[in-house]
């Protein structure tokens, strides 16, 4: 078992009466990409600032390569941070920006020049050393901000939603590039974001955070297909949600009668749910099969028929909204792009079905 690059144990931060971070523990193995995903205000930035040293935890410990850094000032910690708005120094050119940390370490000038040249080469921008910060494009600034940290060879690189300010196309591109840079530098990245696709695409491990706690930590695929809590099921990806009463439980399988009167089959995946309790059932739009006739979906144990109420065209991620005959809520269903549903329009009759295994059930939260 190799030693984790970063380990937080029982990390807690209280501001007055509010607890921003509540007893969070996690370990990040060397060379991995760890993301903390959560809505704004969930405490993820607080965790990051505690790791960087700008905030002192109220309780718990932070260890980097096995050594507690609680009494180490931010400018002495072996972690560096890429800030949300990058915080490049506008008064310096690119080479001076990247060389800043090296100058502070007191390295001789030729070595600084050499190292700066090397890291610029690595981020694929070899000739921009003499340019000014405002002359660079958004993506270039991004890479310079990472290079400025990486040149110091930190044990852990912290990234605080660095893609937030970029436009969509560039963001998609930078996701892939960040992952490639992480592999190239072979450094541990800790990335915080509220954008699930950033976290899911790039990370080895994702921690979903809500109200100061980690709801679930695991590989992106596990979070997506096997959410452990209702919050994760609702926050990561899209879901259709029904609330209702559990009518019968048989092993993991259960039967639920929704408030709108639909009989649904789902799975509790080991969670405690018994007859008569109120529960929520989450079904992903892409887990629902669309068919022209009831026979096409006959092999599923959940089947509904209804009419299309809207078409939500979004290229590969197109959906339809359909209203089942028996219920009142609309159901979102992924639209297959194979062409057979190309002529679907409002009012068309459709039949949908999904396996009960895809219906994740959670005890309903009060309220």
């Amino acid at each position: 078992m190799t030693q984790p690059d970063l380990a937080c144990t029982h990390l807690t931060k209280r501001f007055g009466d509010t607890t921003a971070v509540d007893d969070v523990s996690f370990e990040v193995p060397p060379g991995s990409f760890f993301s903390i995903l959560g809505p704004s205000g969930c405490g993820k930035t607080t965790i990051m600032r505690m790791i960087a040293g700008f905030l002192a935890p109220s309780d718990g410990d932070i260890r980097i390569k096995g050594r507690s850094v609680l009494d180490v000032a931010p400018n002495k910690r072996p972690v560096n941070m890429v800030f949300q708005h990058l915080a490049l120094f506008p008064m310096m050119n690119i080479a001076d920006n990247i060389g800043y940390g090296l100058r502070r370490k007191g390295l001789p000038k030729p070595e600084i020049t050499h190292k700066v040249g090397e890291v610029l080469e690595r981020i694929g921008l070899p000739d921009i050393g003499t340019r000014r910060v405002e002359e660079l494009s958004g993506g270039q600034k991004q890479r310079v901000a990472i290079a400025r940290c990486m040149v110091l060879e930190p044990d852990v690189l912290l990234l605080d939603e660095p893609l937030g300010a970029l436009d969509l196309k560039l963001r998609e591109h930078m996701k892939i590039e960040l992952k490639a840079l992480q592999a190239a530098f072979d450094t541990t990245f800790v990335y915080i974001t509220h954008d699930q696709s950033e976290a899911l695409v790039m990370s080895d491990t994702v921690a979903v955070m809500n109200a100061g706690r980690f709801e679930q930590m695991g590989a992106a695929r596990d979070l997506y297909y096997r959410p452990e809590t209702a919050f994760v099921a609702g926050f990561v990806g899209d879901s259709n949600r029904w609330r209702g009463r559990v009518e019968s439980v048989d092993g993991d399988a259960l039967r639920l009668r929704s408030d709108s009167g639909l009989a649904l089959l789902g799975s509790r995946h080991g969670r405690a749910l018994s007859d008569g309790t109120t529960a929520d059932i989450y079904v992903r739009p892409e887990a629902i099969r669309l068919g022209h006739s009831p026979e096409e979906v006959a092999h599923f144990d959940n089947r509904l028929s209804g009419t299309v109420t809207s078409l939500l065209f979004n290229g590969a991620a197109s959906r339809i909204l359909m209203r089942p005959i028996e219920g009142s809520e609309e159901i979102e269903v992924a639209l297959p792009q194979s062409g057979e549903f190309a002529h679907l329009e409002r009012g068309s009759d459709v039949h949908v079905g999904w396996s009960s295994d895809q219906g994740n059930c959670f005890a309903a939260e009060a309220g």
Partner: protein, 285 residues
């Protein structure tokens, strides 16, 4: 449409042009002409550089001139030294109500006239004043101490009078420095002094220069403070101008002095801009 547009522009620009023309350009041209006159007899004048010559040849005039310039530069430097931490605290550290309260505290002294403010300092510093009494009471002095009528008193008055004009532009520029940039400095291994030198001061440079220019001009052209706190022998250049115009009715020499002061301030401001690599547009815009 085009005509209406032009009319609007003219209406807006006319007050400015009147102000500049009537109060600044015409008087200065007139003063320049006066400064080139030499009185050769009663009511008889000849054009010559005699006034400027007497300025250069008379050591008292030159020394006063140099002294005023040096003291003003010192007052500016001192104001910057005191004002910078104040501005930094208000802009970067204070939050919410404390911040507005502190800013107001900087502003409050300027609600009373300069005369009253200067009298305030005289009450504190004079022989029978507060400081003197406290020193005697504490046993640190056995006789009344006169603290007025020296260069230190002038300096105190100048710094006090100009503080606001330094603090305001500094707060504005420091305010525009993203906190994350300072944090990034610490994160990358910077220490307090190095961040101040490499990040904060370069960023605040336009504010520092514009504040310094304003304070320097105010000090150089100040009349009240040097006269009241420095006494009759304060040897401030504005005092020389005043005495030429009012006491000696030598308008010609007074006008020449006035012009020398204008040239001096312009040269020093231009030099400062050149040395710091700033431009007038950048610092005033």
């Amino acid at each position: 449409m085009q005509a209406a547009h032009r009319l609007g522009f003219l209406l807006l620009v006319t007050p400015l042009l009147l102000w500049l023309g009537l109060l600044i350009i015409i008087p200065h041209i007139d003063m320049f002409l006066v400064s080139l006159r030499e009185r050769v007899g009663v009511g008889e004048y000849a054009t010559s550089l005699a006034n400027y010559r007497s300025f250069i040849e008379e050591p008292l005039y030159l020394m006063t001139f140099a002294r005023t310039a040096v003291m003003s530069v010192m007052a500016t430097a001192l104001t910057l030294l005191i004002g910078f931490p104040v501005a930094y605290y208000i802009a970067k550290m204070a939050r919410g109500r404390v911040r507005s309260a502190l800013f107001l505290l900087c502003l409050v002294p300027f609600w009373v006239s300069e005369l009253v403010r200067t009298f305030g300092w005289m009450i504190l510093l004079r022989e029978t004043g507060l400081f003197s009494s406290v020193l005697q009471w504490a046993g640190l002095a056995d006789a009344p101490v006169e603290m007025l009528y020296n260069d230190a008193a002038i300096m105190v008055g100048l710094v006090y009078t100009s503080m606001l004009f330094m603090v305001v532009p500094l707060i504005t520029t420091l305010d525009s420095l993203d906190d994350a940039v300072i944090e990034a400095g610490y994160d990358l291994g910077g220490s307090g002094p190095s961040i101040l030198r490499e990040i904060v001061i370069p960023h605040a440079m336009p504010g520092i220069v514009s504040g310094s220019i304003v304070v320097f001009m105010l000090s150089l052209g100040n009349y009240l403070t040097p006269i009241m706190l420095g006494g009759k022998d304060s040897l401030w250049f504005t005092e020389l101008i005043y005495s030429q115009f009012i006491v000696r009715f030598n308008w010609e020499l007074g006008a020449a002095f006035g012009f020398m002061l204008l040239i001096l301030s312009s040269v020093i401001v231009w030099g400062t801009l050149r040395v710091t690599g700033q431009t007038l547009e950048k610092t005033m815009g």
